[in-house]
């Protein structure tokens, strides 16, 4: 479904991705792990088409098409979904309004008729159960005044309604207490399916206890330095990222990386 080859990207002249290779097939769940500033979030944003990042090399094939040629909204309509690390507030726009506009844009692209208000609400109510969200939530302004946990649950609700082919979850576990994380994880697990792929970007292996990945990759300094199965995450937890980073240059670089990795 997704073939990333030697992907390089920079922001404000600073190189963040230095040749990422990644292949994801339908039905698979991949976890991308790595220390702060390693380029995890950049990878997620570049795949979603954020224009503040400049792609300087490499290719990305998505369902046989050149993903990098597509505008962000075209990628979304083609089934690529990004759950944001920091979901954005849109004052005055109700959650349900955004959701309906998004779903109808995606349906239109698929050649399906727009859902009327009744059918739409029925669908949303059904999906809300997945993330244990109450109905008044729908009529609040998008992410405005939401707690951290509510924002993340809202992202998963959107995913459940839009039914993407490829979902990228960017630090979906950050800022969640254990109960909220379980709810989010249950939501994601119920959306696992043979024709859907999921890429989870996370700093901690904790999330992987709840959403068990098929593959784990470690991103360091803009490259995937190690790939493996579930057990790799556990090993990382035990030994820390420095185990893979090769101690000598890590001190000098971590300063530079922290500067480059904080744009989300």
């Amino acid at each position: 479904m997704l073939k990333v080859k030697n992907l390089q990207a920079k922001i404000d002249g600073k190189e963040i991705l230095r040749g990422v290779d990644l292949e994801v097939k339908a039905g698979e769940v991949h976890a991308i792990m790595g220390p702060n500033g390693s380029g995890k979030s950049t990878l997620a944003q570049v795949l979603a088409g954020r224009e503040t990042y400049e792609v300087t090399g490499g290719t990305v094939e998505y369902d046989g098409n050149d993903l990098l040629e597509l505008a962000p909204e075209e990628r979304a309509r083609a089934g690529l979904f990004l759950a944001f690390q920091y979901p954005v507030e849109i004052p005055g726009v109700s959650n349900v309004y955004l959701l309906k506009a998004a779903l109808n844009a995606v349906r239109k692209h698929r050649g399906e008729p727009e859902l009327d208000a009744m059918d739409f609400l029925a669908l949303v109510k059904d999906r809300m159960k997945l993330v244990e969200i109450s109905q008044e939530f729908l009529y609040r302004a998008v992410n405005e005044g939401f707690s951290g946990g509510e924002k993340k649950r809202n992202e998963i609700l959107q995913m459940a309604v839009l039914e993407p082919r490829l979902a990228i979850l960017d630090e979906t576990d950050s800022g969640l207490d254990i109960d909220a994380m379980k709810i989010v994880a249950n939501g994601v697990n119920s959306l696992r399916s043979p024709d859907r792929a999921i890429i989870m970007v996370t700093h901690y292996q904790r999330l992987l206890d709840y959403i068990v990945p098929d593959f784990v990759h470690v991103l360091s300094d803009g490259r995937i330095v190690k790939s493996g199965g579930r057990e790799l995450a556990l090993e990382l937890e035990e030994r820390g990222y420095s185990w893979l980073e090769g101690g000598s240059e890590s001190a000098a670089q971590s300063g530079a990386r922290a500067g480059g990795g904080s744009h989300v």
Binding site: P72, E73, A76, P87, G92, A101, A105
Partner: protein
């Protein structure tokens, strides 16, 4: 951000939809202004002597005044001798007695504008319409039905003929003829407008609506609206405006006076979409308007809601004088400036009575090279024990060549008063845009969604049909401004 900026730019640059010109035979007097012109207008309207005297007094006062220069707007001086002060579609008789006598070309114009003028067509609807075309009012619908309840809804000229005592009693009682430069000019030369009288205890059963259109070239439009709500009466009044696209600027200097007696309520909504001029700022309407409401009675309530998307320059401050004890004044405003448009708008809330309350919610949107200023005065006089005001002024910027300015003035002479002011300025963020795009929503829809969200508190004050129109209008006015 770059692409998003281009999208915003493309969105803003959509064309004005109401820019057509109607080809009509008109009765237009030569350009220029002097006492004879004032007399001629009064004579054409067959006015009683008191009206002529009132006009002449206003004219003589106007001669002593100079145009205000304190507003945050810039334009070359206006040559008042280059304007024609009266233009009316020519009709075979003295004036249209019924809609059947109205020039079919004119009716087609209103059809194009989406105004339901023919009564039979709108019997199913809930809106009674008075349409003012250039200087005269061409048809007031539903008159009979309203008349049965004692409600008077007619053109101003007709009111002068049919109800001179009411006109004499109330005209200029809220905005005196010498109030300001443009109000004085209006008082001297106004040619028509709408008149509404709601008798004691009557709740007007439908929205009353006026549609203003400037058609003829080199004419000014000076309309005058007077609304009186007697004790316990209620009325909701809507006003819409359009004009053809012309290269030269046209002046629109209206005066609106509202009077609410004890326990009366007046709700006045405006969707102003005068021609804004082209992208380079050529042409467009100068909209210099004085609107003021007088909460004369106890527990009276006046609210202004305005959506201002048109005009090259807007200069208007719909205000409320809170004279009656416990009276309430409200001002809800969305003002959008795009390309080279300039707006200096806001309100004045003058608290005189005890426990008077006022609310101001102003939303300014600037795009292109638009300049948007909020100017508001909250004045609490010594007599106004327990007065309260809440002001919220938000500005939204699209792109980096536009401007937003806030000029709040607060004068409090009573220590028991509570006055609150909040102001924010924000930009449509690249992050908000990307969030919407990532959900599959087009840039155009995203901007319109974000802007409409920003204006929501004001839109919810508009009557339903108007709210929908206002939302569409914002979308259209912003075409080309995604950034």
């Amino acid at each position: 951000m770059a692409t998003a900026t281009h999208q915003l730019d493309a969105l803003i640059s959509q064309e004005y939809k109401h820019g057509f010109v109607t080809d009509l035979e008109t009765d237009t007097i030569p350009r220029g202004l002097n006492e004879d012109v004032v007399r001629l207008i009064s004579a054409k309207k067959n006015e009683p002597a008191f009206m002529l005297e009132w006009r002449l007094a206003a004219y003589r006062h106007w001669l002593t005044m100079t145009a205000p220069e304190w507003a945050h707007v810039h334009y070359p001086p206006i040559d008042y001798q280059e304007i024609s002060y009266y233009s009316a579609p020519k009709s075979k008789k003295d004036g249209p007695k019924s809609l059947d006598e109205v020039d079919p070309e004119l009716l087609r114009t209103y059809e194009k504008l989406g105004i339901p003028l023919k009564e039979r067509e709108i019997l199913a609807g809930v809106v009674a319409v008075d349409a003012v075309f250039d200087s005269v009012s061409v048809g007031t619908t539903f008159k009979k039905k309203l008349g049965e309840m004692g409600i008077i809804f007619c053109s101003f000229s007709e009111a002068v003929q049919e109800h001179p005592e009411l006109v004499r009693q109330y005209l200029g009682s809220v905005v005196p003829s010498g109030d300001n430069f443009y109000a004085a000019l209006n008082s001297a030369v106004f040619s028509d407008g709408s008149f509404v009288y709601i008798p004691k205890g009557v709740r007007c059963p439908m929205e009353l609506s006026t549609y203003f259109r400037i058609n003829a070239q080199n004419t000014g439009q000076f309309e005058r609206t007077l609304i009186i709500a007697e004790e316990g009466a209620y009325v909701s009044y809507l006003e819409g405006c359009t004009a053809p696209m012309r290269d030269e600027n046209q002046l629109h200097a209206a005066v609106v006076e509202l009077i609410a007696l004890d326990n009366a309520r007046i709700k006045y909504s405006t969707v102003q979409n005068w021609y804004p001029g082209d992208k380079e700022g050529k042409g467009g309407i100068y909209n210099f308007v004085t609107k003021r409401g007088d909460c004369r009675g106890a527990n009276s309530h006046i609210s202004w809601t305005q959506v201002e998307t048109g005009s090259a320059i807007t200069w208007k401050y719909p205000s409320v004088i809170l004279r009656g004890d416990n009276s309430v004044g409200e001002f809800y405003s969305v003002a959008l400036t795009n390309n080279r448009q300039q707006a200096d708008t806001g309100t004045k809330m003058i608290h005189i009575g005890k426990n008077t309350r006022s609310t101001i919610v102003s939303k300014g949107i600037s795009a292109g090279r638009g300049q948007n200023a909020y100017r508001g005065l909250v004045k609490v006089l010594k007599s106004a024990d327990g007065a309260r005001n809440y002001t919220q002024c938000d500005s939204l910027l699209l792109g980096d060549r536009c401007g937003a300015h806030t000029f709040p003035y607060i004068e409090v002479k009573n220590p028991t008063a509570k006055v609150e002011h909040e102001a924010t300025t924000s930009r449509i963020g690249e992050d908000q845009m990307f969030y919407c795009l990532q959900r599959g929503i087009s840039a155009e829809d995203a901007v319109s969604m974000i802007v409409n969200g920003f204006c929501k508190e004001v839109f919810k004050e508009l009557p339903m049909e108007f709210a929908v129109e206002a939302q569409k209008l914002l979308g259209v006015s912003l075409e080309g401004s995604v950034g």
